[in-house]
Amino acid sequence: MTLLGPILIAGFLSLAIYLGMSDSSVQNVVVVDQAKLVTKAFKDSEFIKFFYTNETLSDSAFGESPYNLMLIVNEHIVENNKAHLYYKKYPSVNVQSYVSNQLDNALEQVKLKLNNIDDKVYSEIRTAVILGLFDYKDQEVESRKVELATVGFFFALIIYMFILLYAVQVMRGVMEEKTNRIIEILVSSVRPFQLMMGKIVGIAFVGLTQFLLWILLTTALMSVFQSMIFTDPLAGEIIAQQQISPELQKELISPEQSKAAVILDLIDRINFPLMTGMFIFYFLGGFLLYSALFAAVGAAVDSEADTQQFVMPLTIPLIFGFIIGEFAVLNPEGSSSVFFSIFPFTSPVVMMIRLANGFTPDTMWQLYLSIILLILGFIFTTWIASKVYRVGILMYGKKVGYKEIWKWLRYGS
């Protein structure tokens, strides 16, 4: 499990990239220029070659031809702005947008001539505003909240996965001890509460270690695979395409470099000591909160099949937190992001996204409140769970429902 995980992840990722690359073998596009407007107007790329004809190819002729794609530019293209691309194999989005961009550019040139507009004038008129976002109290640096939130989302994803995987493992462990009856030997040596906490804390550290290893190994393996097979020229082409005018392109040193600069800027902005500290806190806090409840479920039931009715309501807030997290990336400071980053059942996931953006002194209280509530939250769930656990582990052959558990909660010590 510890070793297999990273190998599988790195293997699958590399396979996906490799297959993606094999798709980007050279695409031959035949342009049927019925309008006689765009012949020779398209720029070939390393992976896309254009060929031109004025004659319509029959379906069978295209089928037998060496062309992969057939672009029909109809006679009325200037009026209707519509073209059809016929494929033998569905082209990737990158190919689609490359072809579409080429056609846009070619038609723009045609329309400029039709309207007697000078090319140079047009480039000057054509506008793409770069909207910089600034907090009025902090005008020095441009905000990159959404990008940062995306980084936070990665941490949130790990926490979400960890809780789901390992809380279920706690439940299985408890159930195993109950069903194979070793539990009675154990509880004659240690208090049920100690046993339950031992299981939870033990698995928490197993999980933490395992994830650390996963991350290290996956990163190492990926870099090995990458150096062996990974280059992605097409992606670079597309970025180059999307730069609208040559002037703008010159302004930005190069697209790759600007991308790297953004990433460096993002890394620079994240408070990593805080982020790492909080990651471990929410990692453990969220795990303790949920796994206590999962332990209680394991203690209450006799078989895996009976866990369903209890596991569902436990996973719903977690999944919900994950969905809220996706919205929170787009609107990191919306009121739902704020609320669910404080609410203990969703905060381990949602707060990670907000943490990447950091807090101002004005909003710091939200982080403190979230931390306090999470601590209170897992003390509460542990307390509830210990009551269910204590009664449940020695209760056999009884179909347990919510009513029964409610009774256990009301038992004295």
């Binding site: 195993e176 001890e177 194979n180 009856r181 070793i182 539990i183 009675e184 030997i185 154990l186 509880v187 004659s188 040596s189 240690v190 208090r191 049920p192 020695l394 056999y396 009774k407 010590s413």
Partner: protein
């Protein structure tokens, strides 16, 4: 001296009473039978002694001191429903269980080596529990119960699942442990073993103690004042002579010999019976009918359920 003293223990669950004001004591260095039909309250009591659950009222004293959490290390408990981690190697597992009872790892290993050798399990140290036969797993469980040399052993049905050879092995082990100073509480339905090894018993039924005492005394108390007479001779004359003071319970013919079960009534003694018999019969053998623990168990439980009769 009493090893364990149970005083006025009661335990009520929502819908039923498991124990109602139960008191008894267990002598030091004795084997004590805790008996009763299924559902009588034995397991509840054992769990309370092991501090797995707590009593609603009453107190328990171990060595004249109120039972406390640290006493766990001095008690060995073999539950009736017992299990082991199936996927774990038995050696590691035994070490783990010993450590839970407070032994150091090294102590646990050296003690386990001794017991594993003794019970022919040495080759199984690195095997998983799922590879073991039921009897072997039972042995491992027994070992982990006694390994930390507790003063008080509580064994719930220790013989179930064992073949006669292993049953004997465990029985001798229990006797051995008593000799070394251990006090053993044995909860079982196996009345033969009670008869063979128990010094004292209590019999619990429906949350109450219905019988307690030394095994030897109980047998005396429950004897039906009944004798088996083996003889040759004229049955008819003899039975007529018995008249109203005797009750001929049963007769059996074995070849020439007749065996008659005769209950003495109205304060008659064996001598009185023999006087009559000698006139009519050629007596070969006579002996008193002593009840087995099995019979005592059944009699006591049945009498308890007939409220008219009260047990002394």
């Amino acid at each position: 001296m009493d090893k364990l003293r149970i005083e006025h223990i009661s335990k009520h669950y929502r819908n039923h009473t498991a124990l109602e004001d139960v008191s008894f004591s267990v002598k030091s260095q004795s084997i004590f039978g805790l008996l009763g039909p299924n559902g009588a309250g034995k397991t509840s009591l054992i769990r309370i002694i092991n501090q797995i659950t707590s009593a609603d009222s009453g107190q328990i004293f171990l060595d004249d001191k109120l039972l406390s959490e640290k006493d766990i290390a001095n008690i060995g408990y073999l539950p009736e429903e017992r299990g082991l981690y199936k996927k774990m190697k038995i050696g590691e597992q035994a070490i783990y269980l010993a450590q839970l009872k407070g032994l150091s790892r090294n102590d646990a290993i050296s003690k386990l080596k001794y017991w594993f050798d003794k019970y022919d399990l040495a080759n199984w140290w690195d095997k998983k529990v799922e590879e073991l036969s039921k009897g072997m797993a039972q042995k491992v469980q027994f070992i982990t119960t006694v390994l930390h040399e507790p003063d008080l052993l509580i064994l719930d049905e220790p013989f179930s699942g064992f073949d006669p050879i292993n049953t004997n092995l465990i029985k001798n082990e229990i006797l051995d442990l008593r000799k070394k100073g251990t006090t053993v509480i044995l909860s079982t339905h196996n009345m033969n073993s009670v008869e063979e090894i128990c010094d004292d018993i209590v019999l619990i039924d429906n949350a109450n103690i219905i019988l307690e005492g030394k095994v030897s005394e109980l047998k005396q108390r429950f004897k039906p004042n009944q004798f088996e007479l083996t003889f040759k001779g004229n049955m008819i004359g003899f039975t007529n002579a018995l008249w109203t003071n005797y009750d001929l319970v049963e007769t059996k013919k074995e070849g020439d010999l007749i065996k008659a079960n005769i209950k003495l009534l109205n304060d008659k003694s064996l001598n009185d019976l023999l006087k009559i018999a000698i006139d009519h019969l050629e007596i070969h053998e006579v002996h008193e009918q002593i009840p087995s623990m099995n019979e005592i168990f059944i009699t006591a439980v049945e009498q308890k359920n007939e409220p008219a009769e009260i047990i002394a």
